[in-house]
Amino acid sequence: NTFLPAATVDRLSFHNLQELRHSASLATKVFIQRDYRDGTICKFQTKFPAELDSRIERSLFEETLKTLNCYYAEAEKIGGQSYLEGCLACATAYIIFLCMETRYEMILKKISMYIQEQNEKIYTPRGLLLTDPVERGMRVVSFAKSQDGPAGFGSPSSAHSPARSNQLSP
C-alpha cells in the first residue's frame, strides 16, 4: 500500500531522469583521467580539456575538480579517525564492517550530493552532465556534452534520487 503513492511520484520524476540519461547516452563524452603522480590515491587531473572550452569557464571546472580531489583525499586520509576505525574493526574481527557505514562511504555520499548540486547549478544550464566517478570504477570523471547545446539536459533536480539510492546501497 505504501508503495503506491511513492511509486507514482517516482514514476513521474523517473521519466525526467530517463530523459536526462537517454540524452546523456547520446551525447559526446569527455573523460578526465586519474592523476597518479601522488601514488595510488584517488585524484583527478585538473588540466582543462579543450573540448569543454566552448561550454564552461576554466575556473569553474577547476574549482569543481579541486573540490572533488579534496573530498577524495579526505576519504583516503590515514589519520586518527581511520586508525580508530581500523583498530576497532580488527578487534571485532571486522564484523563491524557489516553493521556500520565506513567513513569512506559517508564521504562518497557527500561527494554524490556535491556533484548533484554542481550539476543543478552550473553544468546542466550549460548543457553538460557530470557523472560521479564511483559509477565508473573511480577511473574517470566524465562530462557528457549534449548535442543540443545548453538546453540539452533539461532539469535534473528531481531526477537523481531514485538512481542515487540504487547506487549507494551496498
Binding site: 540519461r21 559509477e135 577511473r139
Partner: protein
C-alpha cells in the same frame, strides 16, 4: 481478480486493440524479471545471496581449508580440552575458542569479499583511450598491437602503467589482472587457492588476520596437544599408551606439525610485506628491488617507516566495492533480445503508465526494494548510465584444473617458500568442487 481490477482502471487507454487485453503483450507467460548486474558480470566470479557475496569461480581448495580447520579444531575441543581443563586450566578452551572464531570469520571474509575488482571500461571510455594512443603500425585487426604503456612519475620513480586488453583500461599503479578471475584487481597481491579468491586492496587485511590468527591457532593446538600427550604419558605409561588413550590427538599433531611451519612462514613473509608496503606480486617480480641493476629503484609507495606502513596497510580506510553487483541491468542493452522488466503496452497516457506501472511495481516490490527498474515505457530504459554495453563473455570451462592446486605447501604458488614443507594434504579438490554449492554461509549474508 487482478485482471478485473486492471480492466476497470483504464480500459480505453490500451494501445493494442486486442479483445482480451493480456497484462503482458509478449508471448512469455511470466514477465522477465529485472536482472541484477552480478548476473551479467563479465569476470569469472560466482555470486551468492543475490550478489552480496563474491568468490572466484574456481573455489580452489577453500572447502579443504575450511574442512581441515573445522576438523582439527573440533577434535581439539572434543578430545583434548576436557583433559586439559581438568588438569590445567579452563582458559585453554576459551583462548582456543577466540582464536578459532577469529580464524573462521577472517577466512570467510577473505573469501567472500570483493578484493578490489575494477569494473571494465564502458565502450565510450575505451574509444576515448584508443583515440589518445598513437598506433604507428597502422590498424591491423589480425594481431594484437604491442603492449601499450604509459609512464608516470610517482615519488621520483618512473612507474609504467600497462594497458589491459581485456578490461580496456590503463591499469592504475599496483593493479594487476588476475587470469583466474579474469578481472583487474587493485593492489593485487596474489590469487590464493586456499581461500578461493584473489587477495587485493580490499581484503588484504582480512587475509593477514586470517594467516596470523591461524598460525597462533595451529601453534596453540600443537602446544596443547603436546602437553596433553606429555601429561598422559607421565607416570611410566609411555607415549604409546597416551596415543592409544587419545588417538585423535595423533591426527591433530600430524596436521598441526606440518601446517604450523608453512603458516608461520607465510605469516612472517606477509609481515615483512606489510612492513615494507609491498605486494607479493611486486616482490616476486622484483619491481623495486633493483634486480635490473638500477640502484635508484626503491618502493615509491612506502612511507619509509615500518609503523606507518603497517598502519596504512592494515588500518587504513576501507574503500567501497567499485563493482555494482546489486544494481539492475537496464533493458536497452544488447544482451537481451526483448525488453526486460515488466512488459506492458507502450502507452502514451501518463496516468495509464502510472497505473500499469504500479501493477508491475507491486510484483517487483515483492522481489526487491528497488522501484526504479520497471518503468513501462517504449523508450530505452536506463537506470544507470550505460554500463549495459558490457557484453558478458561466455563462460569458459568452469573447472579448470590448475596444477598448482595440488601443491602441498600454501605458498608454493605465491612465492618461494621460506621453509621447506611437504605437508601430505589429501587431494580432495575434485570432490570439494561438488561441495561448492553447499558453501553458502548463512551467517554472512551481506558481506561487501
Amino acid at each position: 481478480m487482478k485482471n478485473r481490477e486492471y480492466q476497470q482502471i483504464d480500459p480505453q487507454a490500451l494501445a493494442t486493440p486486442t479483445p482480451t487485453p493480456p497484462p503482458r503483450p509478449l508471448p512469455e507467460h511470466k514477465p522477465r524479471r529485472a536482472r541484477r548486474r552480478w548476473e551479467v558480470f563479465p569476470g569469472k566470479n560466482r555470486f551468492y545471496c543475490d550478489g552480496r557475496m563474491i568468490v572466484a569461480r574456481q573455489s580452489g581448495v577453500l572447502p579443504l581449508t575450511l574442512g581441515l580447520i573445522l576438523l582439527t579444531s573440533g577434535l581439539f575441543f572434543i578430545f583434548d580440552c576436557p583433559f586439559l581443563v581438568k588438569h590445567l586450566t579452563s582458559c585453554i578452551p576459551a583462548i582456543g575458542g577466540v582464536l578459532f572464531v577469529f580464524v573462521i570469520i577472517s577466512l570467510l571474509q577473505t573469501s567472500f569479499t570483493d578484493p578490489g575488482i575494477l569494473p571494465r571500461a564502458t565502450p565510450e571510455e575505451a574509444a576515448d583511450i584508443e583515440k589518445q594512443i598513437d598506433n604507428p603500425t597502422g590498424s591491423s585487426s589480425s594481431y594484437r598491437p604491442p603492449p601499450r604503456t604509459k609512464e608516470v612519475v610517482i615519488n621520483q620513480q618512473v612507474v609504467k602503467l600497462k594497458y589491459c586488453f581485456t578490461c580496456k583500461i590503463f591499469r592504475p599503479p599496483r593493479t594487476s589482472h588476475c587470469s583466474l578471475c579474469d578481472n583487474c584487481v587493485e593492489r593485487f597481491d596474489h590469487h590464493c587457492p586456499w581461500v578461493g579468491n584473489c587477495v587485493g586492496k580490499r581484503n588484504y587485511r582480512f587475509f593477514y588476520t586470517f594467516i596470523v590468527s591461524l598460525s597462533f591457532l595451529t601453534a596453540f593446538i600443537f602446544g596443547c596437544v603436546t602437553t596433553h600427550l606429555a601429561l598422559r604419558s607421565q607416570g611410566g605409561n609411555g607415549l604409546v599408551f597416551a596415543l592409544q588413550a587419545s588417538p585423535a590427538s595423533a591426527l591433530e599433531l600430524v596436521v598441526c606439525f606440518f601446517s604450523v611451519w608453512s603458516i608461520l612462514g607465510l605469516s612472517g613473509f606477509h609481515t615483512y610485506l606489510v612492513a615494507t608496503n609491498l605486494t607479493t606480486n611486486e616482490d616476486i617480480k622484483g619491481s623495486w628491488s633493483g634486480k635490473s641493476g638500477n640502484e635508484d629503484v626503491g618502493n615509491p609507495y612506502s612511507y619509509n617507516s615500518i609503523i606507518k606502513n603497517c598502519c596504512s596497510v592494515l588500518c587504513g580506510p576501507m574503500p567501497p566495492s567499485l563493482i555494482d553487483r546489486r544494481g539492475f541491468v537496464p533493458s536497452d542493452d544488447s544482451v537481451q533480445t526483448s525488453p526486460v522488466e515488466i512488459e506492458l503496452p507502450a502507452a502514451k497516457n501518463d496516468i495509464n503508465m502510472c497505473t500499469q506501472g504500479t501493477k508491475g511495481l507491486l510484483e517487483t516490490a515483492s522481489r526487491s526494494p528497488l522501484l526504479t527498474s520497471s518503468c513501462p515505457q517504449a523508450k530505452p530504459q536506463a537506470v544507470l548510465e550505460p554500463l549495459p554495453e558490457i557484453v558478458p563473455e561466455p563462460p569458459k570451462t568452469p573447472h579448470k584444473h590448475h596444477s598448482h592446486h595440488r601443491s602441498k605447501a600454501k605458498q608454493s604458488t605465491h612465492h618461494t617458500p621460506k621453509t621447506s614443507n611437504s605437508s601430505p594434504r589429501p587431494h580432495h579438490s575434485h570432490s570439494s568442487r561438488r561441495k561448492d554449492s553447499k558453501n553458502r554461509d548463512p551467517k554472512f549474508s551481506s558481506l561487501r
